[in-house]
Symmetry: D2
Subunit: 136 residues, 4 copies
C-alpha cells in the first residue's frame, strides 16, 4: 500500500516549556493529513450536503522522538477500509526526508450524521482509499 504525505511546520504555538512539541498536537497533525487525504472541499461538502462527519473512535500513539521549533515534519499516512463503516489510518511522523519514525499513530475513524448516528463511509472516501492502495 502506498502512502499519502502531508507536511507540517512546527511553530511556537506547537511547543511547550519542555522545548518539544506538546504531545497532544500530533493528533492535530494526523487530522490535518486526513483532511488533505479526503480533500478539504470534499470534507466540507460531505458535512454540509451529505450530513456526514468523521469521528475518531480510537487513537494510539507511540512517541519515539520529539519534534522542536522550526522542524519540518512529514505525516505519512496509509489507510484501509476495515468495514463499510470503519477506516483505519496508520500515520507516522518523520522529519522531512528522513526514514526514522518520530511518532507512530493508528487512528480508527467512523462517520456519523448530526444526530450522532453511525453512517457508512462516503463513496468518495472509499474510492480515495482504493485509489491510494492501487497506486502501490
Amino acid at each position: 500500500m502506498t502512502q499519502h504525505t502531508h507536511q507540517v511546520r512546527i511553530y511556537y504555538e506547537d511547543t511547550d516549556v519542555s522545548g518539544m512539541v506538546y504531545h497532544a498536537n500530533y493528533l492535530k497533525y494526523f487530522e490535518r493529513a486526513r483532511e488533505h487525504f479526503i480533500g478539504p472541499e470534499e470534507l466540507v461538502r460531505l458535512f454540509e450536503e451529505e450530513d456526514t462527519a468523521f469521528v475518531v473512535y480510537k487513537a494510539e500513539l507511540t512517541y519515539k522522538e520529539g519534534a522542536r521549533l522550526g522542524d519540518e515534519l512529514e505525516i505519512r499516512s496509509r489507510v484501509e477500509a476495515e468495514s463499510k463503516y470503519r477506516a483505519i489510518f496508520h500515520q507516522n511522523v518523520h522529519r522531512k526526508g528522513h526514514e526514522a519514525t518520530m511518532v507512530e499513530g493508528r487512528v480508527e475513524l467512523v462517520c456519523v450524521n448530526h444526530q450522532q448516528n453511525l453512517v457508512p463511509l462516503p463513496k468518495s472516501v472509499v474510492d480515495s482509499i482504493a485509489k491510494l492502495q492501487a497506486s502501490a
Copy 2:
C-alpha cells in the same frame, strides 16, 4: 464598578518553548471568565434556545509580565453595556492575590444568530451586567 473573578491554573499545554504562557492563550482565559460571568448553563441555553451566540468584535491586549507553568492566575473582569448591542469587558490577569497586572485586556462583544446577523444583548446578560455594577 466591582469585578468578577475567575481562577486559571497554568498547565504544560499553556506554555511554549520560551518557558512562558503562549500569548494567544490569554484570550482563552478571558473567554473562560466571560463564560462564567454569563453562567455556562445560561450560555448554552442562549445558544440552543434563543439562537444567540457571542462574538468578539474587537480585542486589545497589553502584555506586561508573562505567566509560567504551575502559576495560579486570576482573571478580574469589569463589564459595561455600551449600547443594547455591545458589551465591553475590561479583563486583567493577576497572579492570585497580587495587585500587579500581568496582562491587560479589553474585549468588545456583540451577539449574533446562526445567520451571523446582529441581535441585541440578551436580557439575562444585561441583568448580570447591571447586578455586577450595582454590587459596588
Copy 3:
C-alpha cells in the same frame, strides 16, 4: 486501587464545528489531571531543581461519547508504577457524578532530564502512587 478525580469544564475553546469537544483535547485533560495528581508545585520543583520532566511514551484513547459546551467532566485516574522508570495511568472521562465512561485512556509516562536521557521516576511520585493505591 482508588482513584484521583479532577474536574474539567468545557468552554468554547474546547469544541469544534461538529459541536463536540475536539478529540485531541482529551489528552490535555488527562495531563491536567496528572499534573494535579503530582501537584503543580512539585511538578515545577522537579523540573527546575531536579532536572526531571515527564514525557508521554504511549497513549491510547477510546472515544465512546463526546462532551459538549458547558459540560462538567470528571477525569478519574488510577496509576501504577510498572517499573522504576515507567508509570501507567488509566484515565477515564465521565460526566460529573455519572458512571458511564465517555472516553477511556491509557497513558504511559517516563521521566527525562534536559538532555532527553531517561531518569527514574522521582521518589515523590513513587510515594504518591503508593499512597493512592493504599487508600483503597
Copy 4:
C-alpha cells in the same frame, strides 16, 4: 511598503461550536506569518545562538468576518521598526485572492534574552524589514 504573504488552511482544530474559527486562533496565524517573515531557521538560530526571543508586547484585533472549515486564508503582513527595540506588524486576514479584510491585526513585538531583559531587534530582522519596505 509592500507586504509578506503567508497561507493558512482552516482545519477542524481551528473551529469551535459556533461553526467559525475560534477568535484567539488568529493570533496564532499572525505569529506563523511572522515566523516565516523572519525565517524559521533564523528564528531558531537567534533563540539558540544569540539568546534572543520575540515577545508580543501589544496586540489589537478587529474581527469583521469569520473564517470556516476548509477556508484558505492569506495573512498579509506589513512591518516597520518603530525604534531599535520595537517592531510593529500590521497583519490582515483575507480569503485567498480576495480584497475584503476578514480580521485586522496590529502586533507590537520586542526582543528579550532568557532573563527576560529587553535586547535590540537583531540585525537580520532589521535587514528583512528594510528589504520588505524597499521592495515597494
